[in-house]
């Protein structure tokens, strides 16, 4: 088991090294033109002390709106899923409403949010919307994941609806909800960054748009690397949490 894990970690590291090596070679030799800088120059740009303030301000802003959106969307998604569980009549309705909301591309909704709320609130709103969907799906399928025998047992023990929910349905849903918590991290980050494209005062999304429009290629790549790394780090941390919960609740 731990041997397998070590092997998979080594293979993963090898894959990343190969990818970064190819990136470097393509960049150094300008194989795909000027817009592909070598990895080393992107790193040099990213860690240049004079730009630390810029990057940390943008990252803080994006993480702030993504985090707040994640929280709002997560709570709303779980509450909506719980509603469908406690009042099964509403379940088809909550399913459909969530699917319809999710079917609309968030990029189309962003202008609406800006008009309805404000430029500052759009990143949070889009992050919340993305997280909402993931949390709803995780919650709704999670609450239904207790076994028929467990539900029969609760009925035969004379459990009330709330007793059953808190003793069986909710704990049985934890593994699914934690998987949702993991998947919602990149979803919320994407929402925040897209929201920022529409003129938020600061954030990674703004840096991306500015860099692109002003042809600041190293800046563009640096911000993308920063966003991707942040997302991967948070995702990995959630994977750890997920493993612990799955071990305990399954």
């Amino acid at each position: 088991m731990s041997g397998e894990r070590t092997q998979s970690a080594l293979l993963g590291a090898l894959g990343v090294a190969l990818m970064l090596g190819a990136w470097e070679v393509i960049g150094q030799n300008r194989l795909v033109g000027m817009t592909w800088p070598p990895f080393s120059s992107v790193m040099a740009f990213l860690f240049d002390p004079s730009r630390q303030a810029l990057f940390s301000r943008a990252l803080t802003a994006t993480l702030g709106s993504a985090g707040l959106g994640y929280l709002i969307g997560g709570l709303a998604g779980l509450a909506f899923a719980m509603l469908g569980q406690i009042l099964p009549v509403l379940r088809p309705g909550t399913d459909r409403a969530t699917a319809v909301i999710h079917a609309i591309p968030s990029i189309a909704l962003a202008p609406i949010f800006i008009v309805l709320l404000s430029r500052e609130a759009a990143p949070t709103a889009l992050a919340a919307l993305n997280a909402f969907f993931v949390f709803y799906v995780a919650g709704a399928s999670g609450f239904a994941s207790s076994s028929q025998t467990q539900r029969d047992l609760m009925a035969a023990l004379g459990a009330s609806g709330t007793k059953r929910f808190f003793h069986v349905d909710l704990p049985a849903a934890f593994p699914g909800i934690v998987s949702g918590m993991k998947l919602a991290v990149p979803a919320a980050l994407i929402g925040a960054i897209i929201g920022e494209w529409f003129g938020a005062p600061r954030g990674l999304g703004i840096l991306i748009v500015n860099a692109m429009q002003n042809f600041q290629i190293p800046l563009l790549w640096s911000v993308v690397v920063l966003a991707a790394t942040t997302s991967l780090v948070l995702f990995s941390a959630m994977t750890l949490l997920e493993r612990i919960v799955h071990e305990r609740y399954r």
């Binding site: 025998t149 029969d152 047992l153 009925a155 035969a156 004379g158 007793k163 003793h167």
Partner: protein, 263 residues
Amino acid sequence: MTDRTAAPAIDFRGVTKSFRLPDGKTLTALTDTSLSVGKGEFVALLGPSGCGKSTLLRLVAGLEAPSSGAVAVEGRAPEELVKAHRLGIAFQEHALLPWLTVRQNIELPFRIAGRPVMRERVQGLINLVGLAGFEAARPKQLSGGMRQRVAIARSLVLEPEILLLDEPFGALDAVTRRQMNVELQRIWSESRISTLLVTHAVEEALFLADRVIVLSGRPGKVVRTLEVPFARPRHPDVMRTAQFHQLVDELTETLHPTDGAGH
């Protein structure tokens, strides 16, 4: 102990149960079935798979309602007994909650009933089913036999008036099953709760029950009732006697007639 003159613990009067299948057809699981379980009596329901014996047990637990006829438990509707948390039940799938320890699983009925947990009662049952030392283990760390012991302890923890056992050892290997039968006999002898056991194992039914009721294949109905002649407490050696073997043969013949009339 067994008193069949008083109101029976479980009483079926002309019960029929049919299910509407998704394709619109109707499946009759039980037809015009009448039977009863006396107070303090251990009755085993024996029948081929799909004969409606589990349906019968689910009717007693209030998990299903009869299509016609009446089911009474302690002279009342099954739902009343369930609401009063006076029913103990164990299923073939142990239905333990994987996130709880052995002790917490056995304590669960107290929490569901909203009663304070009686720690000594729980510990006493843990000892009785031979799981002392495993109180903090989780179900997935236990063997199949140990999980069923937890399920049995959980079914007994509230000192129920009625105990329902739905093939509790059906998923175990033959050796473990025999061992569990011996232990259940010992555990049951200490409480003598009115018990209905559903099984398709003839030896299990004969060794455990005061009375064996044989159901026919679908739709199920009572084809034979046998008073088990062995005195309690029963030593496992009973299973080696000629009389035991002869009764096993008789019941097996009733269950699966060799002239090809059954299946």
